[in-house]
Symmetry: C2
Subunit: 198 residues, 2 copies
């Protein structure tokens, strides 16, 4: 083990993905991951709170990207479009990494504890987007619902993208999913709040 | 401890809520819950897989209610309205229990492990609703997005309802939240897919 270790974090992520695939998540310890990555367990816990967290190291960057895109969206854009702008921007962070994203998605999907953590990260992305929308003066309920809708477009678009063998750009897939989400509503509109017995 | 124990399950739920409030979730064991409820640990594990699960015993009933309401919705209703009909029907299951629901929500909110489990239950509600919509012939993407949207209306409406001191009926709150969700989109519509540079 050399004293100078470039990208220790990246090596821990790759080691964890290898071990979760080979042995399963439950059968892998933080110590196993550290050993495979060539770092001490102490180093592991300086970077991650637990073995689940290794697969979620990109979450902060995703949150920051969404918040920044929402902050800088045009002032006259309706709230739901501002929120969608936020999640489409995430594509810039994840775009280049289809192989890694696809493998990671399979690992997460296979384990309930990892799925739970993934859902918590998505929930915190909703909170981040809600906060950024409210900072633009959007009322709390609208901000919350617009953030949920945008994260739905992201989550469903991302799940489709990782499942594809030869996918288009992630941003394209998310924008397309957002358009399908929008298309749900106009058709329903006439049947909705205004609907009254004649 | 009498040999005949009516409502052992209900007593375990109440004991868990008391203990999670008094000591915190982490400091409470399954054995503590069993003891407080006057049952053996063996009985506890016949009813629940772990101490988290005690707070989620109503989830199956919620899923069944949503699936059944989607199944029996009018044939000509647009998919998103079918899905919303499903979650509004859940109000019938939870309606009478504002005090319990509010207390439970505070406990769940205070602990990340419980929040993760709550999110997993909501995700499985999305899957249930998606499956029920697909069984009506709705295409997979539309079914998935309509189910997500309906569960958003449920989740946000329910969170508002439990936070209120003197709330209206849960069904009213969810239907109102669904209307606010719908109202996000018409305003955005003109700015959306058809928007092109002149």
């Amino acid at each position: 083990m050399s004293r100078w270790q470039p990208d220790a974090r990246g090596r821990m992520v790759r080691a964890a993905m290898d071990l979760f695939t080979e042995r399963g998540f439950e059968q892998t310890t933080a110590g196993d991951i550290a050993e495979r990555a060539g770092v001490t367990e102490r180093t592991f816990f300086r970077h991650f709170t637990d073995k689940r967290e290794v697969l979620f190291s990109g979450s902060e960057a995703v949150g920051r990207t969404v918040a920044e895109a929402i902050r800088s969206a045009p002032a006259d854009l309706p709230p739901v479009d501002v929120a969608l702008t936020g999640v489409v921007a995430v594509a810039r962070v994840l775009e280049d990494d289809h192989g890694h994203s696809a493998r990671r998605a399979r690992i997460v999907e296979a384990n309930p504890a990892l799925r739970e953590r993934e859902l918590l990260k998505l929930a915190s992305l909703v909170e981040t987007a809600t906060g950024a929308l409210r900072a633009r003066g959007v009322d709390p309920l609208t901000a919350d619902l617009a953030a949920h809708s945008a994260v739905t477009a992201f989550q469903v678009g991302f799940a489709r993208w990782v499942a594809e063998a030869d996918p288009p750009a992630l941003g394209t897939r998310i924008a397309e999913t957002a358009a399908a989400l929008r298309a749900l509503w106009p058709a329903a509109e006439s049947a909705a709040p205004g609907r009254q017995p004649r």
